[in-house]
Symmetry: C2
Subunit: 254 residues, 2 copies
DNA sequence: CGCCCCGTTGATCCTGTTCAACGGTCGTGG
DNA sequence: CCACGACCGTTGAACAGGATCAACGGGGCG
């Protein structure tokens, strides 16, 4: 396996979780017009959900897709022996339910982490509409592709980063996701317990807690006065830099 | 977060990597007819590739998708700081290139691990054809969905399994992938070095080697006489059972 | 108030990493 | 032909990062 040629434009890859072309503002715009386009061509049902609400469940038959209009959602994958893991976090503009297409039944649970709004619609209806609206079809494909890329970035982070760097990367990812959607990213309020974060990152509650303490000691983050779930990020760039520095520094593939 | 209700039919989940509906024979058939359908509706270019050949490269502009007609391929994701990781293994019937749709450029390298045959075709042409062939469109969506599910299963294994179980799960996955395609699974020949396996599983060469030795000592696998890359699996079920037993035994999400 | 859940911190243990040495195989070239 | 070196895989010994076990404080709620 030869090392990849150096001919890749260096701008092609910025950071594992920072790959969008275009600015954050564009991203928010993209999401807005996507929601609009879907809503105008597919009959959908809008639903307000609350923390803990189940959008769909593993094993359940697949018929409908969902779009996040507001709120935060987690996807939980589980094995037959009881192992379960948070495998993805979804924000405004993200789709829920793609995992069900392949086998006609869902492979994950989708759970709301906070109050939010979900737009649900029939997959069949979407397909029908997309036959006359190529732009709609393109959106669906982009969304699925994005999901694949994101999952693989998660895989990369999980395998190559130390516990502290993983936590930093997680915070950076969360903040970045907010920023792209036009929300303020310097002051984030995690909707997850330490247990959930740990599960998502493949580590224990204690390790998450310690990692956060260490990040705080380095002034990469700061805990808001009252809530241990509210975190300030003075300098997003510093956090990203820490992720790279804290990586096994070039654990390359030979 | 409440524990999931017990109302999920237990048959809905068999094992992380063992979720197909239908028998292995059906799967091989599905793949065969899928290849046929694509070939009969999209102009494609067939190409024989050899170990080490690059099908596409991260950063490269996205225009074409690829179908594996024969051989073994790996997808390598890499971060800006040099970290890189094998994030997926692809076999006959798998698609290559979905990661490029979202951003118009590829996010991974796709590399052949052995001699094989790749069918390449324009994504645009595929879209055009799928407008008049709904079955074709369904195939594409199923393939993308399957990819998402697989990535999430990998995430789950990575986070919840011990090193030994991860190696066992990897072997089981490989063997199972062969079996589904109608190939013999009791005697597999890995196309990967220990370094690649370790990278894929998030562990070091030494740990992979030790894990294999321990699996061999338990008679879950046997090394073929001459090659340390040829492995016999007397009982696939035993390997699967070990994965479950070797799991952190219910590292649930609270 | 008492209980439960959440988060933090300390002490100890263990899994997997790191460092190191060694054997086998293959390709190259004297 | 064999010597040499590069590469791959295995195994051992020491180390360390994170898991585990345990104790404690704070907040919300019945």
């Amino acid at each position: 396996m030869q090392t990849r040629s150096a001919s890749i434009p260096s701008s092609a890859k910025v950071a594992a979780h920072d790959r969008a072309v275009g600015s954050p503002a564009n991203e928010a715009q993209r999401i807005g017009s996507m929601l609009e386009l879907v809503a105008s061509h597919v009959p959908l049902q809008r639903r307000v959900v609350h923390a803990g609400d189940l959008i769909y469940q593993a094993g359940e038959g697949f018929q409908r897709l969902h779009l996040v209009n507001a709120g935060f959602f987690k996807l939980i994958n589980s094995a037959s022996d009881g192992r379960e893991q948070v495998v993805a976090l979804q924000f405004r503009g993200d789709w829920l339910g793609f995992d069900g297409i392949a086998q006609g039944r869902h492979g994950c649970d989708a759970v709301a982490m906070d109050t939010g709004e979900i737009w649900s619609f029939s997959y069949e209806a979407l397909l029908q509409a997309s036959l006359t609206q190529p732009r709609l079809l393109a959106l669906v494909h982009e969304a699925m592709s994005r999901e694949i890329v994101r999952d693989r970035d998660a895989l990369l982070s999980l395998c190559t980063l130390s516990a502290d760097a993983r936590v930093a990367d997680f915070l950076h990812y969360w903040a970045d996701s907010l920023a792209r959607r036009g929300l303020r990213a310097d002051q984030i309020s995690l909707r997850m317990s330490r247990a959930e974060i740990g599960n998502y990152l493949g580590m224990t509650i204690e390790s998450v807690s310690r990692a956060l303490s260490r990040l705080s000691a380095r002034h990469l983050i700061r805990f808001a006065e009252k809530g241990r779930r509210d975190i300030e990020i003075p300098e997003l760039g510093a956090l990203a830099a820490f992720v790279q520095g804290g990586s096994a520094a070039g654990r390359t593939l030979q």
